[in-house]
Symmetry: C2
Subunit: 361 residues, 2 copies
DNA sequence: AACGGCGATGTTACCGGTAATATCAAGGAG
DNA sequence: CTCCTTGATATTACCGGTAACATCGCCGTT
């Protein structure tokens, strides 16, 4: 109440100093614009630089000065203006996230994990979604992100178009595509229960020798990765992939793949994700084939619904939370110039449910 | 090549003028920092203000001046710095989005639609996710968003905690919770095929009179909205809700609800979303009840997988894309101070599949 | 007692834009 | 022919911070 913008006494004049005048801010709080460090400095009777130093955590401030600043900060409900800070420091504490298919399980799970990891590190994610996966739309989205002054760029959909855009464009900031590692790392002590080898061994131990592979779209690196892992694991265990059909991750594509097939030729279907497995199981039912009596079916991801499919789906649980988090941490460490963490393979774990059973004779 | 930061001749001095000196930028392009309007102005031999005016689309610029500016802009690959612009204008072109359960279908679908609508209007979404829905975590997230200088705030999860946080906090910017409208609007011409009344009429016409209601968590406004719509529609058609069990949207909760039930007492189960319906159907199967032979089951949302459940699920397709888009448009119109659109009810459409059939005698 | 060093604080410049004001040349009126 | 007006452009101030440098008072030294 006593404080005014225009000095009316010698004391006030000395306190305020010849600092840049603020035109507004009558009372200490209210509907006026948020307080700046200049307002705080004036209220505390110090220079704005002292306030800035305090906020930065600078030690060498006398206790009484410190107390005045703290008091003023609290009185004025000061909140730093990140825009102004980022203009001088170049640090915006923002990461651009690029994604399409955000309503699909994988990308949205990754996004959630990435966002949580970013928040914990004091960053927010600027998200830009793509309607289509074509190069033009990716380029345009990247331009949009770039204008918004992000410190790093994270892509949550790892397709060939995305990869090529990332290789072609000079971002001036660290950029990263969150993806499953191309070469799965073997965790020696858990080899038998981890990942695709475990899945294949499970099928093999049930007597299956012939596999129909429902693959993901080949321009996705995750799809290629899964296909490669399956090929390598089946080769090792002596199983045969009698047929590979490429879907688009959707249940509809899994359904269509099985529906149009003249002959199944296999006792097990290994799908690159749970949704396609779901579609496949429905189509099998409509052909009069029972799961797992006639055909065993497996998925990948372990989406929450998979445990309630009919029958509940045997699948590989992917640690997408972990990979989203790791991707952001890796990106932030590149931003900060600190040492990168070791890139870790996505952890996966075999979840056996009722969709797999002994191979029919 | 000929241009240098330090004037070495009268000509250069006149061209550059007594403007703030730039220390860097030797060649016109390369690994140096991005060009500013001052660089462009120097290259074009005009003042930075002329460049600014050009960028703003100001008309009164002489054609030859305009040409010089355009040339310089292209040569230097100028990209505006949104941070600097937003510091003076107060327009950041950012909307803060607050959400949890982003890996669930509803929120992620809303987010995708919101992001697309924002992008089309030149905004990006700053997303902050919540681990938990409690008030403290919401408050903290909102503080984080506020620092990041957004022009509006959009919540994508409409729970009581969110609502109360929104009422308690003064954001200084428009804030909006994306939610289904509390009072469904009736589209007269389509009354019979739209929304909950259509769903109930469908069950009624199949001879069902008793309904078990699998409700969503009551702190979600969408859950309350759906429950209310069901109550009103059943009352109108003379059906009885014999029991209401509250789940948490997950298939697991739908499964558990039916699993522990001593007696079903109803010929139809109306679930507040598709996932709980999925869980319920599995539990029904395990009790030896067939769908739809013994019990009919319906969901809400029409998630992409619902058409491939076993059996495929009769459900209400919700236009979440539309509501996400509308929420952002509404928010942006409030930001711009323009007239708000009419709030529209979420459009929903009855999708009849095989999970509903004639009531058993 | 004069002085150098140093810790605490104040002053100025700068980030990259936009807004407001100033300048300047050309054209029209008196 | 001079003055005023006006359109085009230049200059300056400002947004809210941070960084670099300047200042000032107090201390111990010789």
């Amino acid at each position: 109440m006593a404080e005014q913008a225009i000095p009316t006494s010698g004391t006030a004049e000395r306190d305020a100093g010849p600092i840049r005048a603020r035109k507004h801010r009558g009372a200490t709080s209210g509907a006026s614009r948020p307080a700046t460090i200049y307002d705080v400095a004036a209220a505390a009777g110090v220079s704005h630089q002292t306030v800035s130093r305090y906020l930065k955590g600078f030690e060498g401030i006398r206790p009484e000065t410190r107390a005045k600043v703290e008091r003023a900060l609290a009185d004025l409900e000061y909140r730093p203006n990140l825009t102004a800070r980022s203009l001088t420091t170049g640090r915006s504490r923002r990461i651009g996230a690029l994604t399409h298919d955000i309503d699909k399980y994988g990308p949205s799970k990754l996004l959630g994990a990435a966002s949580a990891a970013a928040r914990d590190a004091g960053y927010v994610l600027d998200i830009v979604t793509l309607d289509t996966g074509d190069t033009a739309s990716i380029t345009q989205a990247l331009a949009m992100i770039a204008e918004h002054d992000v410190e790093g760029i994270l892509a949550l959909s790892s397709t060939d178009e995305m990869t090529s855009a990332f290789e072609r464009i000079d971002f001036r900031v660290p950029a990263l595509i969150a993806t499953e590692l191309d070469e799965p790392v073997r965790v020696e002590s858990q080899l038998a229960t981890v990942g695709m080898p475990a899945l294949v061994r499970h099928l093999s131990s049930l007597g299956h020798r012939t596999i129909l592979h429902l693959a993901g779209p080949s321009q996705w690196s995750a799809a290629r990765n899964r296909t490669r892992a399956l090929a390598s694991a089946t080769a090792e265990d002596g199983l045969t992939i009698v047929r590979t059909i490429e879907g688009d991750w959707s249940a509809a594509s899994g359904y269509a793949a099985i529906k149009v097939l003249a002959d199944l030729d296999a006792t097990a279907i290994v799908s690159a994700n749970d949704q396609m497995a779901l579609g496949a199981m429905l189509a099998l039912g409509e052909r009069g084939l029972s799961v797992p009596g006639d055909v065993s079916v497996t998925g990948i991801d372990d989406i929450p619904d998979a445990a309630f499919f009919c029958p509940p789906l045997t699948t590989l649980r992917m640690d997408l939370n972990g990979s989203g988090r790791d991707a952001v941490r890796e990106l932030i460490s590149r931003i900060d110039g600190s040492e990168a963490h070791d890139p870790r393979a996505v952890q996966s774990e075999l979840i056996v449910r009722r969709s797999t059973g002994p191979a029919p004779r």
